[in-house]
Symmetry: C2
Subunit: 203 residues, 2 copies
DNA sequence: TCTATCATGTAACCAGTTACATGATTTT
DNA sequence: AAAATCATGTAACTGGTTACATGATAGA
């Protein structure tokens, strides 16, 4: 990562945060994070948790807190936060909240190459996109409503609110783009020209 | 990637798109993409281009088109798009435009763990964030204005417009969040309580 | 001519993903 | 009791980042 953080993966942050509630073994991290619905906000899989815990240990942010054994199941190593780990958690969080960074959403890339598609096709594709955006928005809404009626405090749902706000902005942009395509302000014209003069056939 | 695309890296898409203009060697890809300002929309470095070209070749999307030599500089291998590559470019673009996917912006992760910070601190951090968001917005505006006066067609700047829309939504959300923090609707209360009852000290 | 920067590529390393291994429990 | 699923972990592979290597030109 560009950051000079010793562990750059955001999954590491989520693990630090979980361990702030008390020591756990990696599998338990996996379970509780999954149960808590964290997979909507952090990308992780079973395997990646073991990896990141290892990294955090190398960096001195977590340390072995003992080992347990339960019947003949494999022995589990329990990890706990170190002082350094606690400090890193705070600092990292403060940084993320205060400093937005330049990211690379897939749609940005696609837009930057949009002239590779013929304009008529793009109109159809954007229309389809509006549908899908609405579906994602509904999904978020459902998650939030479900959690609220289950008694979760709204504070623990702000990330979904943010997501919805971004989805709304995406929809609005998409609609505006569509409008410019339909309108006779010359957009489609130059675009089509660009296509015609750019044979793109180099066999 | 979740996609069953043979090459999942979006840099691969940008390379396919560049090669649609004609065969090139990797260094030239690097130069033209950089000159064209693509680094704002796709993350790449010198080294990653060589890597992705190799992957594209393994996948059959590009092929050696010959080798050149210029003086005693290292010999350059020129790559061109194959028929498969051209098809992949189209299909991939259509997919990206029509199907938004679930992504993991850093701020979403931070928000999902926001209760790890004390509420008073968060207010200050969000205020700082507003500044930084404004700066990023200005930056995008400047890029766009510069390009427009240099004669670039707006079609080639839509990705910056999108970025600005997302930044605006981010600002609006941040302001609303701040307002809820200040307001006496109980938010800060439960939050602070959560902090007090959650000692987070496991030394 | 010495030094800096450009042009071009390779290699070494670290991170992340996926698949696999194996005993325990639950379901049919 | 066979099949499926859960609990727990490791290993192998692939991808991405960084640092390095080396000749060529250009500026001081």
């Amino acid at each position: 990562m560009s950051t000079r953080r010793k562990v750059g993966n955001l999954l590491g942050l989520a693990v630090l945060s979980s361990l702030a509630q008390g020591p756990m073994h990696p599998y338990e991290l996996s379970r509780t994070m999954r149960a808590h619905g964290d997979e909507r906000s952090v990308k992780f899989t079973h395997g990646s948790i073991y990896m990141v815990v290892e990294q955090l240990e190398r960096a001195g942010f977590v340390a072995e807190h003992g080992t347990e054994r339960d019947g003949q199941r494999p022995e589990r190593t329990v990890y706990g936060l170190t002082g350094e780990g606690r400090r890193e958690l705070q600092e990292w969080m403060r940084d993320l909240v205060a400093e937005p960074r330049h990211e690379y959403p897939e749609f940005v890339t696609a837009l930057s190459l949009i002239s590779a598609l013929p304009p008529a096709d793009v109109a159809a594709l954007l229309t389809r996109r509006l549908d899908r955006l609405a579906a994602l928005r509904d999904e978020a809404r459902t998650v939030v409503d479900g959690a609220l009626t289950a008694g979760v405090h709204p504070l623990f749902l702000v990330e979904e609110e943010y997501r919805m706000a971004q989805l709304d902005a995406d929809s609005a942009f998409t609609r505006a783009f569509l409008a410019r395509l339909d309108g006779p302000d010359g957009w489609t014209r130059t675009w089509q020209d660009h296509h015609d003069t750019n044979p793109e056939e180099i066999p």
